[in-house]
Symmetry: C2
Subunit: 204 residues, 2 copies
């Protein structure tokens, strides 16, 4: 199909598609002639994926590019995938930032016997998010975090269990699942809050 048709099918303007081609987010079509290129289903899928990661996942196009690179490079091994995946997502923390002596996330997780890489960037993320809750005056103490952690393990078990054995699909599943399930769970949590508060309290 031609660029115009690709635009129609995906609902993305031709100008934007050209932009994606320039930025390398969309692989070029087969050049039939100098002014004619042919695009296929893989292009439709790719465009939809880019939009999903950017609009729903909230990633910048630069990050989308890195993610695409990871999931189109075949043949990583099982464990490496998780790490690579996650590492490509975290915004690199600005150097020279406040270093409040490692935060409390790491010791807390150790006390729970969680096996995580002590240099995992998400430890930093957790620290910053936890600290932000403190600044906001939310009473997020270790006891409450313990409760959350128990529930989240349940979620992570679903995550891990649904990764296909197929190593080809595993990378894709893990990376995209890591990114795109966040908004799903976030929305679900808000709806659950409403459900719970409706159910537990009897409205007058």
């Amino acid at each position: 199909m031609r660029l115009a048709e690709l635009s129609e099918r995906t609902g993305v303007s031709v100008a934007t598609l050209k932009y994606y081609l320039r930025e390398g987010l969309l692989h070029p079509g087969a050049t039939v002639s100098r002014t004619q290129a042919d695009y296929g289903d893989s292009h439709v899928e790719r465009v939809r994926l880019v939009r999903a990661l950017s609009e729903v996942g909230g990633l910048s196009l630069a990050t989308v590019g890195r993610v695409l690179e990871v999931i189109t490079t075949p043949g990583q091994d099982w464990i490496t995938v998780l790490e690579t995946a996650q590492r490509s997502l975290v915004r690199p923390r600005e150097p020279g930032a406040d270093d409040d002596g490692q935060g409390r996330a790491s010791p807390w997780l150790q006390s729970r016997d969680w096996h995580v890489d002590p240099h995992d960037p998400f430890l930093d993320e957790l620290d910053r998010a936890w600290l932000a809750c403190d600044h906001a005056g939310i009473g997020l103490d270790e006891e409450r975090m313990d409760h959350y952690a128990d529930q989240v393990v349940g979620i992570a078990e679903i995550d891990v269990a649904s990764v296909p054995a197929d190593p080809e699909g595993a990378v894709r599943q893990v990376v995209l699942g890591t990114i795109l399930l966040d908004p799903v769970l976030s929305a679900l949590r808000k709806l659950a809050q409403q459900h719970v508060s409706m159910t537990r309290t009897q409205r007058p």
Copy 2:
């Protein structure tokens, strides 16, 4: 204290503080003279809150403004709070967008007997996020969603249980908890994935 000291204590540049004052994100200090204003602890807290919502929560400054308005307006009733809170967060969906006949989130939740407002904007969010997962080729079927939903209810119960009875603090707690716990849970989930995959599989 003066603006310069407020800047020092919060780690936010004077120029940025002035910008926040202009934008109404930071309430003006007591003007001692025409070139002297006095800022207090409430200003320090406010600045930290703005940074937390913007940096960690990922909200735009415009949204931060709306959130601040909600949590500084006293005396809403218990249930209204959740709704107002949540409504101020969701980006208004562009009109004339694709309307695929309401999506499957609503019927799915009904089949689970969840009591949620059928016009809740987070239903839309859930639809879009779910659809994005489909576009990305993740096998997110209803069965898996059921598992997630069970776990998320556990989280929501913690959320609701930790809301103080104090109606003043409740608004703040609910709104900020809704926003700022997302990144906490998100980071926690990634760490839990690692923990689970480390524990369940024996590494060679």
